[in-house]
Symmetry: C2
Subunit: 242 residues, 2 copies
DNA sequence: AAAGATTTTTGATTCAAGTCAATGCAATAG
DNA sequence: CTATTGCATTGACTTGAATCAAAAATCTTT
């Protein structure tokens, strides 16, 4: 077993705090000297909700590791119709490998902090450390599974089921108190507006709103101040997912 | 530049003929001795249309490289609603890496021939040859891009646009005469039934059928014997994709 | 705290796609 | 050369979600 840097007590800049979140980030596979080298080239950047991190067809110049917040990946048709094709949470890495251009827009859904790293620096690391490449392959395959699961939701579920699925996804990804297997009294702030949710689910904001109301009336969720959601029993919500 | 085995004139069994198709297969990155070693453990298997290659939640015991034909990846909800979450063409590799179970069903859409290789054999090769891992990462990222593009189609396009998109996808993937940039007199046999197409597009067979008729009446396509499609001008079809 | 802006909800109506039912059309079997 | 069977198309009708239009709630700014 290789020696790992103790991130909590190190004097390395704030890089890689994302690893503390869920131990899925790329830093976990880097050797101490690689981590130090990387930290010389990174910088933390904040984006307030709605700000663009990168645009479709734009050149990829750097990658970004999410420290906290939620990033939405979107695609837009010429006539303005928009689809959110993915949500990224800490400590996901944003930026398309092996491609000189982006294939979609990346935009801060909530307030977001990312750790930006220049493309050549990360690519050098990938060449020298096979574990990093493996980690990236694993992230790509996980995202592929998630995208395919979501295709079922988009193609075959009703509006009611779609909204339940969305809430279930958020509940299991961002509630700080959520632990796998725990299902009582989950609660969280929605990181997306109704418009974003609609674009994620392939619905209109009116339909999203009506389905929120329905879930509230049915006692599956409780809503306060538009964005705060309480889920008394996650199993009920899961049942609503179809 | 490493020496490559001349596949056309070699006495290696039929493995890797897939490489001849589009030079995207995994064989292109294998060294001659690896190719020979691999060929000892592979076998060609034929599946007629509709036959299952592997099932959701089933253990992954082998991978399969498509020699010819189209494989559909599907997911089914408890109540029987089904969604096709991906189509795979030669020379794609089928089977989830780093997972002991499949996450969806793989079924022959048309008649299919695959080259099966046992899981441990391929995994040993991945460990010893970094180029192979890179190739797999590239395939995963390409599939992820395709899945996300498809999410836009599923979430935001009309039935008419969905059907046009599907035909455009097939036209650019399986017409033996299609070369990128050529757009006149494309023609092909549909590898999927109307039911499969409906499950791919999140529609019903009746709606798919009506949209086929509409495209035919509008002169965008010509249909004969249900499955044979002629596209006089691919640009017209592309315009119908929205 | 009031005014203004933005976001969300609710209501009335329309329409695209789904459902149900019948018919057509090939391919294979008898 | 008919049946039978399995797809595919067409027609009539229904419905779930979109659209259009206010109203209500929430957030911002002053």
């Amino acid at each position: 077993m290789e020696k790992r840097l103790d991130i909590h007590n190190s004097n390395i800049p704030k890089l890689c705090r994302s690893c503390e979140v869920r131990h899925k980030g790329i830093c976990g596979v880097l050797k101490p000297e690689e981590l130090l080298e990387l930290s010389k080239h990174t910088r933390l950047v904040d984006y307030s909700a709605g700000k663009e991190l990168s645009a479709d067809s734009e050149a990829v110049l750097s990658y970004a590791s999410i420290m906290h917040g939620v990033v939405k990946l979107t695609k837009m048709l010429e006539d303005g119709r928009q689809q959110v094709v993915g949500l990224q949470f800490a400590p996901d890495l944003i930026g398309r490998m092996f491609s000189s251009e982006n294939h979609f827009n990346a935009e801060a859904a909530s307030n977001v902090q990312v750790c930006r790293m220049p493309k050549p620096v990360l690519e050098r690391l990938i060449k020298s450390n096979p574990k990093l490449e493996r980690k990236l392959l694993e992230q790509a395959l996980r995202e592929l599974d998630e995208a395919r699961d979501w295709m079922v939701t988009l193609g075959r579920k009703t509006a009611a089921e779609k909204v339940a699925c969305f809430l279930y996804l958020i509940a299991t990804h961002i509630d700080p108190n959520y632990i796998d297997g725990d299902f009582k009294n989950i609660s969280f702030e929605l990181p997306l507006t109704r418009a974003d949710i609609a674009d994620f689910l392939g619905l209109t904001i009116e339909t999203v709103s009506r389905q929120f109301t329905k879930l509230r009336v049915d006692g599956v969720i409780d809503i306060s101040a538009n964005r705060h959601i309480d889920v008394p029993d996650l199993r009920l919500l899961k049942k609503s997912c179809g």
